[in-house]
Subunit: 565 residues, 2 copies
């Protein structure tokens, strides 16, 4: 039998996983990885932390070497080798060796494209200045380190407030730089919901970072001092010895496009669930491909290593004759920022609304909660703020965002698994999770999220949200059921105050012909109040997440950073 020849374009994440898996499945195949850069399979998610000197040595970023691929897997890795053309009919690729300048051809039986994505280069004057960086490779991060260490860079402007922008902000603060983050949108982490991003925004400000939202960079100018000035559209200039541009990535599709492979509506390489492109001998995986989002059903681009690895394995399976299918993505992700983590799975409210899926077909509802990451009676409990999105029709879990100092990732992972399995809020309600006082609560945050949402799905309580408090209808009575000391510290304007403990005695003070919107600090006491009122003939609703969610919304959206200018 003829040996199968598998050529892999790109040696990071998906490509490397594919090659290694193919070897385990087929000892006889000839497998070659072509990597245009100087490294194979490096830890690109670690780059910001290498800049921050958390990861101290460059070699720690090298997950694998060509030597290891050769010895362990009998896989040939060609570095500095760019695949510049595909002859699909002849099943040949043209390869340019950047070290020798030589160009040559190789044949393939199966070709796997794992070209990744490249940073978006905004059309700004000055973006090519030597102090401007796009953090994508080890040499990029090495150059930034050098600038900090050798040229004593004192200030940095980061253009873009997404994952990489925030991670770079943390790491440059760690290196002692004065940092400004400039974000075009009216919030950081634009794919998330603004109120859930607020804790990240606030910790950034607390750490001395100057955060500019809704701000557009006009150009980057060379300054007389030798540094640069980042000029905003407003005319203001921010001086910086270092500029990081992190305004997103776009799929690397040039090779695929030139080969006539079909692209998807978002500009990524189109693949089926076996990771085959429009040419069944050519597979594509990783950041460059469009995949189906399991919740929205839409095509999506997701530049994350986990799905890339899974796709690489599936491509290898299919190449080796197995019937593997990629199940799609659900968008599980996390960003760490100082002590905080913001974790998510499934789409945000913002995304669901922008896709027109919120009301129909899903009948979405959301609930907020603020549980401790472990039992409150054990010292050191940190609050997790959670936002669960689900279908009011059948309780299906659609998405979660969780933010806090501890425990947010764990609950997100549990709910990611529930979502993967088509789970409902009722499943969360009856989940059986680890409990000891230092690790959780007898009613874990996941259980609480399920209970609160299940109460809504079952119709036991009607809820309202902080944004409804902006201008409640005229006939609404806003009712604060907290203790007097809490009410005095701050309350929703116009609220009537009757603590839960005396509510049953004082119900007569409330009208039965108007809606009553009850709230407490996190929504638990007011849920009890709403249940009691309703059974006594009142039209009561509960403010989900209580005053705490109201404050997050107010600071993030109404008065705060995300308020439209």
């Amino acid at each position: 039998m003829k040996k199968k020849r598998i050529c892999v374009v790109g040696g990071v994440a998906g490509g490397a996983s594919c090659a290694a898996r193919a070897r385990r499945l087929d000892e006889n195949a000839e497998i070659i990885i072509f990597e245009k850069g100087p490294f194979v399979s490096f830890a690109n998610c670690g780059l910001p932390y290498y800049v921050g000197d958390v990861i101290r040595r460059e070699e720690h970023l090298l997950v694998a070497t060509p030597e290891m691929f050769r010895q362990r897997f009998n896989i040939e890795v060609r570095l500095h080798s760019e695949v510049v053309g595909i002859d699909r009919d002849g099943r040949r690729i043209s390869v340019r060796d950047h070290q020798t300048g030589r160009e040559y051809e190789e044949t393939y039986d199966a070709l796997v494209l794992s070209p990744g994505s490249s940073p978006v280069r905004p059309p700004i004057e000055g973006v090519d200045l030597p102090g401007v960086f796009f953090l994508r490779t080890i040499p990029d991060s090495r150059a930034i380190r050098n600038l900090i260490e050798e040229r004593d860079a004192g200030s940095a402007v980061i253009i873009g407030g997404g994952y990489i922008g925030l991670e770079m902000a943390e790491n440059l603060v760690r290196r002692g730089l004065r940092v400004t983050v400039v974000e075009m949108q009216h919030q950081l982490m634009p794919a998330c919901d603004p109120e859930m991003v607020l804790p990240l925004h606030e910790v950034l400000v607390q750490k001395g970072v100057d955060v500019r939202l809704g701000a557009h960079v006009e150009r980057i100018e060379e300054a007389a001092s030798g540094g640069m000035t980042v000029r905003l559209r407003s005319g203001e200039g921010i001086s910086a010895s270092l500029v990081i541009v992190a305004v997103g990535v776009r799929p690397e599709v040039q090779l695929a496009r030139e080969a006539g492979l079909h692209l998807g509506p978002l500009g990524g390489i189109r693949v089926n669930d076996r990771m085959q492109t429009s040419d069944p001998a050519i597979y594509a995986v990783g950041d460059a491909v469009e995949v189906v989002h399991v919740v929205t059903g839409r095509q999506t681009l997701l530049a994350l290593a986990g799905p890339a690895n899974r796709q690489g394995r599936i491509a290898a399976d299919v190449i080796c004759g197995r019937d593997a299918r990629f199940r799609g993505v659900q968008g599980t992700a996390v960003v760490g920022l100082f002590d905080y983590a913001l974790a998510m799975t499934g789409p945000s409210e913002k995304i669901l609304k922008s896709l027109g899926l919120w009301d129909e077909p899903y009948g979405c509802e959301k609930i907020y909660l603020h549980p401790g990451h472990h039992a409150s009676y054990y010292p050191g409990a940190e609050t997790i703020t959670m936002k669960l999105i689900f279908s009011k029709k059948d309780g299906r879990i659609l998405g979660l965002q969780a933010v806090g100092k501890k425990g947010a990732v764990r609950r997100t992972d549990v709910i990611a698994m529930a979502l993967q399995k088509g789970g409902t809020v009722f499943d969360l309600e009856e989940a059986e999770l680890c409990y000891a006082p230092q690790f959780g609560s007898a009613k874990d945050p996941v259980n609480l999220a399920g209970m609160i949402a299940a109460n809504v799905v079952r119709g036991d309580v009607d809820i309202v949200h902080a944004e409804n408090m902006d201008r409640p209808p005229e006939n609404v009575v806003v009712l604060d059921v907290r203790e007097p000391f809490e009410f005095r510290r701050g309350h929703i304007p116009g609220a009537v105050h009757i603590p839960l403990g005396v509510l049953r005695q004082r119900m007569g003070e409330l009208p039965k012909d108007r809606e009553i919107w009850a709230y407490c600090y996190v929504g638990q006491r007011s849920y009890v109040a709403a249940r009691a009122l309703r059974q006594h003939g009142f039209q009561a609703k509960n403010l989900s997440g209580g005053y705490r969610s109201y404050e997050m919304w107010r600071r993030a959206v109404q008065d705060g950073p995300s308020a439209p200018a």
Copy 2:
């Protein structure tokens, strides 16, 4: 309509949850909690940490007060009030007020028994001495604190090496006591598998605790010094100023038994999935009831707060006319010991084998792995040792044990959710979980567990286990594929050594007519080796979990603490 009268016996966990839920569902019901102790709804899981002064103030253990129940829920709590009899025909209970000595009757429409469990009192002479404690209540822990603080207790013997025994060991070490743990079985945490408990055993020894396995206490003697001597069956005496007896709990069923309610085969109160006893007007929840284990299908007793709370809610639902069902338990639990956590969900190998379920009907297999809790290239990764039990027939997840300094609880919770949803190892393989280098890996430990197990289910690799290495069949070649420096540090007796990097060149040295059992440090390189060998016509198998699992088994079972005497 007549008000419904709901009487709840026992105000901790299940009883308190039931009462509060009933109030939310039925504002008109009359709800009374009878609690024989001095507190309602206290944090009994916190008691060891109150002894250890981690929880510094007793009031932190009081999750709720009678006043709070009255104000917030309009629920009457009667403390020091023991229900001593049930007249089922008359729907009446007899209550003894321990403060006044008065006995009186109350009627009920629904009666909920939440009596909990009581510590097993072993029939040992001296178990009633004043320095001997059963940690079950706040007064118990207060008395231990007093003994430590006022009488300067210097040494303690803990009888029993389960959850409470270990938690007490940690907390007494924290208080500066010399601690001995005496356990009758040949391992700590007897319901877990011995090799998975080894890290807890070793950390205990490292912290200076004297651990005695397979040791039986004959009696506890008063010593001339004023302290005590714990006399073992071997004749040895261990002196102690404090003795904790923590040899398990038994359900409190006296009231139920005297009322003629059916008990189950394990001696707990028998209930249906609506938490109804054999008398449909009487419900029972919590530690005292027998529940169905969702994996084994058997009746089980599980003294944990999470299921108790769920049961309490379900009893309330049913009492209030809803169709709620308890889905059973899966035995998710965690014990923390110094830096370590041992977490689990589903039954252990030991339990499955003792119930005769291992081979049939489940066709169980197990795999071991030792991933880092986050990316290895980010500093501070701690190893999690995981043991996943699954059906080789269809990949269904049956159980997990995970132990490590960080991240074990998170992965256990994710797999607990997968198990709850009837998930398979293939679901774990394609789980999409949070990844950033400080939080996880692109291939999360959950993914790795799934991949390794899926390889077995798909038949891509045959595995062997450490215990098979004890006496491998004569015709087996044990093959170490690690690097020379690793082999030199220690290897399995009789192993042939060919590093993976040169295996393909040196395959000729291996026989094709004998089984080859390959291993490396954690099982990954030897998996690659086994795949390569198999495709080259060798009969290769992989040692699951590698040398690391072998060492754990050797130290725990073959040579170690769990070795039969």
